[in-house]
Each structure stands twice: as structure tokens, then as C-alpha cells.
């Protein structure tokens, strides 16, 4: 087991302590994971398929519950909060899913706006934010297109735009560059870096070594549900 703490000057956004996840009857997805991720940190989780990367993200956004251990996000045990408290926490967490989870019968703008509508943002603010994000991801001309008609790469960027739209304090991204070319990958990473600079914690799950090979951020490698390696990163 490997345990790493962020620099003492930064408060922890995520605390994962001795977390395991088992699926019946005998499938262990994660085992004895302990790690802290600081506020404003960009954190990479890498590993082969089936290593437990996506399971870890699902635990972090409370889509699933751990079999053992404690997960705290922004100081709250996410497995103990329910109802409106959980909803409020989720409004501060943006997640881009591997399968995108876009509404195929809604336009790109409507899909991105959903995460802001639930926090009752003003229509004008929503509209401006949507346009700005689409410009950053080179998708301005897709504003009124149905997401069902977009390519996989475009859908992936829309999913990312939705995750960051509400300016969350924690952004969880699952394979953000899986379907993208080099230019689009650079745009996506640029957007995520901007989010980090503005104070958001970003956790990126990926197996695309191009985006973490030369990074100065911390990288955690999972192997068969266990932490196989955890680089310290240059910035800590």
C-alpha cells in the first residue's frame, strides 16, 4: 500500500483512506487505496484496462459506494450525505464520463447548459458561458446541433465542456482524449489547465501516455485495483 499526502500548505480536496471496492461474487476492483489530492491540483490516474481507474472515479462522484474505507470530498464523507446536501456537492463536482452521457435529442448548447441550470444560473450567464466553452474547444459551429449527430471526438469535447461549465471545484475526467487528434487533445488539456489555475482540482483518468509523459503533476498508476506507483510530481 502506498500513502501520499499533498503539500501541507494546501488543503485536501479529496481524501481516500483504505478504500476497497468489491463486486459480487468475488471480483475486487479496488483494494486498500489511500491517497490525498490537494485543492487546485491536477492529478493523473493511469493503468491498463480493468485496473480500477473508472471505478475510482465512480466512487469519487458517489455513483457507487466503497465496500470499505472512507472517501471525503471537500471535507465531507460523500457516502454519508444524501438529499439536498449531496445535490449541492455534486453541483461543485464536474464529471466527464467515458461514455459521455450526452442527451442525443438535445442540442450541444442544451447539453452543456444542464449543469448550470440545476444551480439556477441566469439564462444570460449560461448562454455566455456555453459560447465561451465552445470557442475554446473549437465547437462554435456546433452550438445548435443535436449531440446525436456529432462525431465521437466532438461528443467527447461537449462532455468535457459540460463537466467544467458550472466552474466546479473538482473536475473528474475519464479518458478525455480517447477519441481526439493531437490538436484537439492540446485544446482539452489547455482547458483543464486553465481550470486548475483558477483553483479547481482536476483528476484525469487516462491511458494516453502523451498527456502525462512529461507532466510535472502527480501520476498514480493502478494495477489490478492496487496502487502500483505514485510519482510525487515536480510541483510539490
Amino acid at each position: 500500500m502506498t500513502t501520499t499526502r499533498p503539500a501541507p500548505s494546501r488543503t485536501a480536496m479529496i481524501e481516500i483512506i483504505k478504500v476497497s471496492k468489491e463486486y459480487p461474487p468475488h471480483m475486487t476492483a479496488l483494494s486498500d487505496i489511500s491517497v490525498s489530492v490537494a485543492s487546485g491540483e491536477m492529478f493523473f490516474v493511469i493503468g491498463k484496462s480493468g485496473a480500477g481507474k473508472t471505478t475510482l472515479l465512480k466512487l469519487l462522484c458517489n455513483m457507487e459506494r466503497p465496500s470499505n474505507g472512507l472517501i471525503e470530498v471537500a471535507g465531507m464523507n460523500i457516502n454519508q450525505i444524501t438529499g439536498n446536501k449531496l445535490a449541492k456537492l455534486r453541483q461543485r463536482v464536474g464529471m466527464a464520463y467515458q461514455d459521455f452521457r450526452l442527451l442525443a435529442d438535445r442540442t450541444v448548447a442544451e447539453n452543456i447548459a444542464i449543469s448550470m441550470e440545476v444551480s439556477y444560473k441566469k439564462p444570460q450567464i449560461i448562454s455566455e458561458r456555453v459560447k465561451s466553452l465552445l470557442a475554446q474547444l473549437q465547437l462554435e459551429d456546433k452550438h445548435d446541433d443535436l449531440t446525436g449527430n456529432l462525431s465521437r471526438g466532438e461528443q467527447q469535447r461537449v462532455a468535457l465542456a459540460r463537466a467544467v461549465a458550472n466552474s466546479p471545484t473538482l473536475i473528474l475526467v475519464d479518458e478525455p482524449t480517447g477519441n481526439l487528434d493531437a490538436i484537439s487533445t492540446a485544446q482539452v488539456m489547455d482547458l483543464l489547465s486553465k481550470c486548475t489555475l483558477s483553483g479547481a482540482t482536476v483528476v484525469i483518468v487516462t491511458h494516453d501516455d502523451a498527456i502525462y509523459r512529461h507532466t510535472h503533476h502527480r501520476v498514480m498508476k493502478l494495477d489490478q485495483g492496487r496502487i502500483a506507483a505514485l510519482s510525487q510530481g515536480n510541483h510539490i
Partner: protein, 295 residues
């Protein structure tokens, strides 16, 4: 953007996407309201007519001989022993003759050769207004038939019996159509909401994940139920009012219908039907959400 603005926008979006189902549900609710309120309106008007009939209800006891003052007092006591009554009138043979002649009007000459005492004397008993059930009237009539000297008791048995049977049948129909309204309003709305939930499972799941509160997800469905209840009952009642006006224009003042003073529902009853329909549809929507919407 506040909560209600978001919720109303979401409701509008739902209605746009599922309007054919919503329209059919609204139509079903309005038909149920129309059927129920139609029978209820007929029932209420029949009760009013029943009140009028009861006002005119009198039991006539035909006597063998004309009673003297002392016997009249005895008979009066005997009648009130069964139940207090509003009025007891003794009609002598002569009075009976005069009434009959008056009823004949211009044809009274047919009585010219008849003796003035050919009609039997009688007692007219007018019961109190609360004395209205058919069973009570029958029991009273049977009792009056046992009074010494009584020959026959008349109160328009057949007509009264038919009228009361009809009112009873109507009350059963009102109950059944009320049940129909209850079933359609609650179950049809519940099914529509369930279909909407199934059709939008993916979106609802996403809303939860991006931090929508339970109220944000539930309220649009409750509003849909409420709107279906209101629109359905409003349409049903409007259709009934139109029918009622048509009926009044074409049939009032004609024959026996003239004895019934037809009237539409009072504002209180209209409000009750609207509120009941809204409540049923909202409850239907709520139960459906509790069952199928895991929020």
C-alpha cells in the same frame, strides 16, 4: 434563474416532448369528469324535484262514515301516535263534492243529477318534510289503513315508488361514475407519468449526477399531474355546461320537465370537482414518482 423558472421550463419541455400522451390523458380525465358530473347533476336535480314532490306529498285516508267532533279528536290522536305530522285535515262528503266540482271546472254540469254526498269523507294527512323515505311513507300508510273506519289509503304509491327507485338508481350511477373518475384520474395520470419517466430515465439519471435536487426533478412531474387535473376537469365541466345550456334551450317548459326546476352546479360544487380532480391527478403523479423515480 430561480427554482420555479427552471422547473416551469423543464415542465414545458416535458409537455412538448410527450404532448400526444399528455393530450390523451387530459382527454380521458375530461371525459371521466364529464360522465361523473353529468350523472351528479341529474342526481342533484332529481333530489330538488324530490323535494318538490315531498312538499306536495299527502296521504288520503278514505273513511266509511263522516266522523263527529269527538271521533275526529280520537282519530287525530291515533294518527299522531305513529308520528307527529305537519297537518291533519278532515274532508266531509260535502267538501269532497265541492272540491271535485271545482276540479271539473266547466264540466261541472256532469254532477247536476248526482247527490252531493256521493263521495266518501276522508282525512288528509300532510307529513313533515323530513318524513321522506319510501319505507317510512309505506309504514305510515299501512298504519293509517289500520285506523278504525278507514276504507283505503292513497298517496300515489306507484308514482312515488318509481320516483324513489329512480333516485336510488341514480345515486348508484353517481357512485360508480365517481369511482370511474377516481380510477381514470389517478391511474391514467400515473401511467402517463410512468411512461414519461421511462422515456427520460437517461436524462433524469444525468440530472441527478450534475446535482439536481430531488425537488428539481420531481416538481415538473407534479406540475404535469396538477395541470392534467385542472385542464381535464375544466374541459369536462365546460362540456357539461354547454350540454346543459343546450338542454335548457330545447326542453325547458315542455311537459313534465317543467315541474323540475333545472339548475347547474353551484360555484362551491364546481370548485370541489376541480379540486378533487386536481388532487387525484397530483396524487397519481406522486405515487408514480415514488414507485419509479429513484431520486
Amino acid at each position: 434563474m430561480n427554482f420555479w423558472f427552471s422547473v416551469l421550463r423543464q415542465t414545458g419541455r416535458n409537455l412538448r416532448q410527450t404532448w400526444p400522451t399528455q393530450f390523451m390523458t387530459c382527454l380521458t380525465v375530461s371525459l371521466s369528469v364529464l360522465i361523473f358530473s353529468f350523472f351528479y347533476l341529474v342526481y342533484l336535480n332529481m333530489l330538488t324535484a324530490g323535494d318538490k314532490v315531498s312538499d306536495d306529498l299527502r296521504l288520503v285516508v278514505f273513511l266509511e262514515d263522516e266522523p263527529g267532533p269527538e271521533m275526529q279528536e280520537q282519530l287525530r290522536n291515533k294518527i299522531t301516535q305513529f308520528d307527529p305530522v305537519q297537518e291533519i285535515k278532515f274532508i266531509s262528503k260535502k267538501e269532497a263534492y265541492d272540491r271535485f266540482a271545482e276540479q271539473l271546472g266547466d264540466n261541472r254540469e256532469v254532477l247536476t243529477d248526482m247527490p252531493t254526498d256521493f263521495l266518501p269523507p276522508s282525512i288528509e294527512v300532510i307529513p313533515f318534510k323530513n318524513f321522506r323515505s319510501l319505507k317510512q311513507i309505506k309504514l305510515f300508510a299501512d298504519y293509517l289503513a289500520t285506523i278504525p273506519g278507514s276504507q283505503k289509503v292513497q298517496y300515489g304509491q306507484k308514482w312515488v315508488e318509481r320516483f324513489y327507485s329512480f333516485t336510488q338508481l341514480l345515486s348508484i350511477i353517481v357512485l360508480l361514475s365517481g369511482l370511474l373518475l377516481f380510477l381514470t384520474a389517478s391511474f391514467m395520470v400515473a401511467s402517463t407519468i410512468r411512461l414519461t419517466i421511462f422515456g427520460r430515465q437517461e436524462e433524469l439519471e444525468l440530472l441527478k449526477l450534475v446535482g439536481a435536487t430531488n425537488n428539481y426533478i420531481r416538481t415538473p412531474f407534479l406540475l404535469e399531474g396538477l395541470m392534467q387535473g385542472f385542464l381535464g376537469s375544466f374541459l369536462g365541466l365546460t362540456a357539461l355546461y354547454t350540454l346543459f345550456q343546450w338542454f335548457i334551450r330545447h326542453f325547458s317548459g315542455a311537459g313534465f320537465l317543467d315541474i323540475i326546476p333545472f339548475s347547474f352546479f353551484s360555484p362551491g360544487i364546481i370548485a370541489t370537482i376541480l379540486l378533487a380532480s386536481i388532487a387525484l391527478c397530483t396524487i397519481g403523479s406522486y405515487t408514480s414518482m415514488q414507485k419509479f423515480l429513484r431520486v
